[in-house]
């Protein structure tokens, strides 16, 4: 691209194989690609702050219920819709249940859905992208046509449709919590692999023509080995960035589903579900909606910022 910043000012440095291989080697000290990425990530102040905040949220969600041992479903009509107090730091809902306990418990599910859906999307995406990139020809064209087709599917209507059609059957087989969890993870992940697949394919198409792959091929490496050992590690950066953004998108998708009343049932208080329950009493108990919506917002915002920081860290063209 004309006018883009040159990747490196001095070319004599032996390039370590890795995503951050071509970063500016102004200092004499050598960094491994991982260290280099970390060095660049640290410069993104918002991403660093976001990592800390997200880390705290994850810790709170994982360890919080050990310290805050109020049951999530203890009904107490005497203190219903109370604002924040010492007994209930985030107030109570319309049944007098403690909102803090519910958000801590539900956060586990919301975050787990986001993470697992991302893993599904990444695995499918890497597989499809790798197959398309290595096979070319008809298989490649078909797979990419499929990716384009999935990209033009209306995501939320389809998500709603599938969860509407399959929820009862899956609940019967796997139980309420497990069945709906698996369904939501698979469907959200299954509708988000296209970006990763395209990235991986594009990376493979460019990397497979490089000399080091030619060398590997000359040494008799099979296609599988070329992809797994040589190409994918070099294509990892953009995939990690896309995966991070996918976590945020999956959290939003799950909350949307729960918010529309078609996600998790009321006894599983994911953040979206709590917000759904809160929306009818916004005029008298705004804290209920604010805290649950705020939890979603903070999780999504910090993940997005971390994704942005990772993009800076993995983009060797960008000079920081």
């Amino acid at each position: 691209m004309a006018g883009s910043t040159p990747a490196s000012l001095t070319a004599e440095r032996p390039a370590p194989a890795g995503v951050a291989a071509a970063v500016v080697p102004r200092k004499k000290a050598r960094f491994s690609p991982g260290q280099e990425a970390w060095r660049r990530f640290r410069r993104h102040k918002l991403a660093m702050a976001s990592s800390v905040i997200l880390g705290l949220v994850v810790l709170a969600v994982l360890l919080g219920p050990l310290f805050w041992q109020v049951p999530i479903n203890e009904i107490d009509f005497a203190s219903k819709l109370d604002g924040p107090s010492w007994a209930h730091p985030l107030g109570t809902d319309d049944l007098g249940q403690d909102i803090l306990a519910r958000l801590l418990y539900g956060g586990r599910i919301s975050l787990a859905v986001g993470f697992c859906a991302m893993m599904v999307a990444a695995v499918v995406g890497v597989l499809v992208g790798a197959i398309a990139g290595m096979s070319r020809g008809g298989v490649d064209a078909t797979l990419m046509w499929l990716a384009d087709l999935f990209l033009s599917l209306p995501q939320l209507p389809l998500l709603l449709l599938i969860s509407y059609l399959f929820r009862d059957a899956l609940t019967k087989i796997l139980g309420t919590q497990g069945g709906i969890f698996i369904m939501i993870v698979v469907v959200i992940g299954g509708l988000r692999w296209m970006q990763v697949a395209r990235l991986v394919r594009a990376q493979i198409l460019s990397i497979r023509e490089k000399e080091f792959i030619e060398a590997a091929r000359a040494l008799g490496a099979s296609s599988f080995r070329q992809v797994v050992r040589h190409i994918l590690p070099n294509a990892l950066g953009p995939v990690i960035v896309a995966g991070t953004i996918d976590v945020a998108a999956a959290i939003i998708a799950e909350s949307t589903l729960s918010f529309l009343g078609l996600g998790f049932p009321p006894d599983i208080p994911t953040w979206g579900r709590v917000l759904f329950d809160a929306k009818d009493t916004m005029d008298i108990a705004p804290h209920w909606a604010l805290f649950s919506g705020g939890a979603i917002f903070i999780a999504v915002l910090t993940i997005n910022f971390i994704g942005d920081g990772l993009r800076d860290a993995f983009d060797p063209r960008r000079v920081l």
Partner: protein
């Protein structure tokens, strides 16, 4: 820009529409549950009658035959009958569709009006204070899920300040100017929620597109000819930078529709999004299928429009 190009794009759209219809039909066909299970379980109906009813409606046919039946019925405009509303599905959708399109259209205009100037300003002054503030706000904008923004706006403008009506009223009693005024007042919040969410991601696209173009040689040439900076930006940079943005606006359409469903549900806007949710809660399968398909058609249509616009804006494309 040739007529051939448009025709070619139109022909490419047909397989993707067919593909989408196959995906939708598969989802429906794979779904557990039988529309005739109630009849089969009803002891008052003899099994022979149930069997003949099944045969009449083609439930025992192979899947591909059922798909062809469904497809030809859809193509003939026979979209079925809504169980819940007691009218034909196509009439129902045609009643609701204009509202959705108006809200989405207004939101898109708002998004473009906000995002263009901000994105261009940020792109021409990268890493300035303005750019950083705009970037951070954009991140916050698209990390705030639409359902949460909607609730926040209701809390602020309807409950606290009491400026705007909380829900959309489809049957306004007034006529003439008061009617228009009421219509605008009740549309402000849904349009803002959708438009600002959309605008936030658009800002980043516009910014990076401008950033890519502004360093190109022809821009330097324009400057060195003595053209004023403002004119260079508006006449030379923005015109080129907008080409990829047009495609991105269209590719964002699925996300916009997701947002529209949520927004319509929060503000009770009588569009096809709220129709979809209502149909799901009422188990109204014909409406669900038709609305999902309409969303898919809209997505394909917008992709098509983007392609055609792209060819028109960028003459290099048509000659591929």
């Amino acid at each position: 820009m040739s007529r051939q190009y448009i025709i070619r794009r139109l022909l490419v759209a047909i397989p993707s529409l067919l593909g989408i219809s196959v995906v939708l039909f598969c989802v429906l066909a794979l779904a557990p549950g039988d529309p005739f299970s109630e009849i089969a379980a009803n002891p008052a109906i003899p099994p022979e009658v149930a069997a003949s009813l099944r045969a009449k409606f083609g439930l025992d046919d192979p899947v591909w035959l059922r798909y062809l039946h469904w497809l030809s019925a859809m193509a003939h405009g026979d979209w079925g009958f809504s169980f819940a509303s007691r009218i034909n599905v196509d009439t129902l959708i045609l009643q609701r569709l204009p509202t959705t399109l108006i809200v989405i259209g207004a939101a898109q205009i708002l998004a473009i009006v906000v995002a263009l100037p901000v994105g261009v300003l940020a792109g021409t002054r990268p890493y300035s204070i303005f750019d950083q503030v705009a970037n951070t706000l954009a991140f916050i904008g698209f990390s705030l899920p639409t359902f949460f923004t909607g609730l926040l706006l209701i809390m602020l403008f309807s409950i606290k300040l009491d400026w705007l009506p909380m829900v959309y009223n489809a049957e306004l009693s007034s006529t003439g100017w008061p009617w228009l005024w009421e219509q605008i007042r009740q549309s402000i919040m849904p349009v803002m929620v959708l438009g600002l969410f959309q605008g936030a991601s658009l800002v980043r696209y516009v910014r990076s597109a401008v950033l890519d173009v502004v360093r190109l040689d022809y821009v330097t040439t324009a400057r060195s000819k003595g053209i004023g900076e403002r004119r260079v930006i508006t006449r030379h940079v923005v015109r080129t930078a907008l080409i990829p943005v047009v495609t991105l606006v269209a590719l964002q359409m699925p996300i916009v529709f997701s947002g529209a469903i949520v927004t319509e549900q929060i503000f009770r806007v009588p569009g096809i999004g709220s129709l979809l949710i209502a149909a799901m809660l009422a188990n109204d399968t014909p409406v669900i299928m038709a609305v999902t398909f309409v969303f898919a058609c809209l997505v394909v249509m917008f992709n098509l429009i983007a392609d055609v616009l792209y060819g028109w804006l960028d003459p290099r494309i048509s000659y591929r």
